[in-house]
């Protein structure tokens, strides 16, 4: 189960993971984008950590909605609205004190839908959708085994999918302007999405089923 404290722990773990990988995300983005994905995500998540400090939440959804609004209002570019609306959509789907695996599966689907509605990307376009879609599907398929097991499977799926963006040609986002030259580089958005699923798996592995 995921409660408000669990959601808070997840978001804080994601913020820490982005601090650790900021340079890697930025150098991935420098290769095929405009080179600010790491610093943008770090700025946004630092703002989230600040916003959650002392923020009193009764549900995991409130935490995620707060994180989403903060990302939206502090990141800019394309990743701000995309991640921000994903968090808001997940938050709206988790408006109970305790969210079970089925609700989490629904939240990931809602997050994916929000990202695709805004960015209009499909799987294979070399974007964060490439990691989010298989992770969301993997989580749903494993949901009967509980949130911890499902999130571990989802994290692996996201990480494999992020690596799988290397040979792809980008069709959405800044990298799409490079055409064939985008081939051979891992997508920074898919990489940060893998962090999102990995940190949830880590948080849930340490908590009660």
């Amino acid at each position: 189960m995921l409660d408000a404290d669990g959601a808070r722990a997840w978001v804080l773990a994601l913020a820490e993971a982005v601090e650790q990988t900021c340079e890697q995300l930025t150098s991935l983005d420098a290769a095929i984008g405009d080179g600010d994905h790491g610093t943008n995500m770090r700025r946004g998540l630092r703002a989230v950590v600040e916003a959650l400090d002392g923020f009193d939440a009764a549900t995991p959804g409130e935490v995620l909605k707060k994180a989403g609004m903060t990302l939206i209002s502090s990141v800019g570019g394309a990743s701000g609205p995309l991640y921000g609306s994903a968090f808001r959509a997940m938050g709206k789907a988790l408006d109970t004190p305790q969210a079970d695996a089925g609700q989490l599966a629904g939240a990931f689907a809602a997050g994916l839908e929000a990202v695709q509605r805004l960015g209009a990307a499909q799987v294979g376009d070399k974007t964060m959708v490439d990691a989010w879609a298989p992770a969301s599907a993997a989580f749903a398929a494993e949901a009967v085994r509980g949130p911890a097991a499902a999130s571990a499977t989802a994290a692996r799926a996201a990480e494999e999918a992020a690596l799988g963006t290397v040979p792809l040609q980008a069709h959405k986002g800044r990298a799409s302007y490079l055409g064939e030259r985008s081939i051979g580089h891992q997508d920074p958005g898919a990489t940060s999405t893998a962090l999102l699923f990995r940190t949830l798996a880590d948080v849930l592995a340490g908590g009660p089923e």
Binding site: D34, M69, I72, S73, S74, V75, G76, G77, A78, G80, P81, L82, G84, S85, L118, G119, G173, R174, S176, Y177
Partner: protein, 332 residues
Amino acid sequence: MKKLINSPDEVVADALVGVAAAHPSLRVDVKERVVSRAAQTRVGKVALVSGGGSGHEPLHGGFVGLGMLDAACPGEVFTSPVPGQMLTAAQRVDGGAGVVFVVKNYTGDVLNFQLAAELAEEEGVPVQTVLVDDDVAVQDSTYTAGRRGTGATLFVEKIAGAAAERGDSLAEVAALGRRVNAASRSFAVALTSCTTPAAGRPGFDLPEDEIEVGVGIHGEPGRSREKIRPAREIVADALAAILADQPLESGEEVIALVNGMGATPLLELYIVYGEVAALLSARGVRIARNLVGNYVTSLDMAGVSITLCRADAELLALWDAPVDTPALRWGV
């Protein structure tokens, strides 16, 4: 880099402080980064909100006032504002009749305004968006999917703003804005690069004897790089590009904007305008109204953009309607 700034990080905030001091008719919220009219929106009047990266002044803050925008959201230099700004602006200026977002077609602007529109709707403020994409130079750029939005933004803000002022509904104001965009085409040429305060050096190298043809308002590349030639020939090529995309027949009327990109003197802009007028006249196209000056700039880039809007009696009447903003003022 040699610029009149205090610190590269404070450029936008410091400029807004100056805007506030210079224009008591505006309410400038330096913290929230929203420039709005000091007077509250008339109840029942549709409100217009625009915004985008800073560095294109007077766009958009200079067009806030009677007959044009109700609010503008300046982002960081050449960076989209964030939805929170736009939401704050929309809530602040909604007069109960809804808000039209005027958005230039750059990916960051489009995504952030789209999200802001959703947030505003959730807060009970109906929003319609007018996407401006008038630049015929490129189909896709480093910053855009599809055509870029440039000089026609001023036309959309002026004409849709006048329609809002006369009491048109949200759908009508938005439809008129879209009609103006559809009737407008632009083309730009750069003679030099510009220097963003954060980067501190020119965004691209342009040799002394070359020009960037079809350049974007962030200095992003256009169609080709060519040797500098007499203004007459450059203008002829720019007009040819515009007319290839939107033919104008003899007897038609246009509103023409000859726009400086920031570092080109009026002396040169008037030379360009003279060539535009002569070439259009030779085709039997009449310039019914015009603007010559710096309206949609790119920091200290030298160069010019030309925008033509095919006009009819309704558009001309709305163009002539009173406007009272820091950068555009007549009829009041």
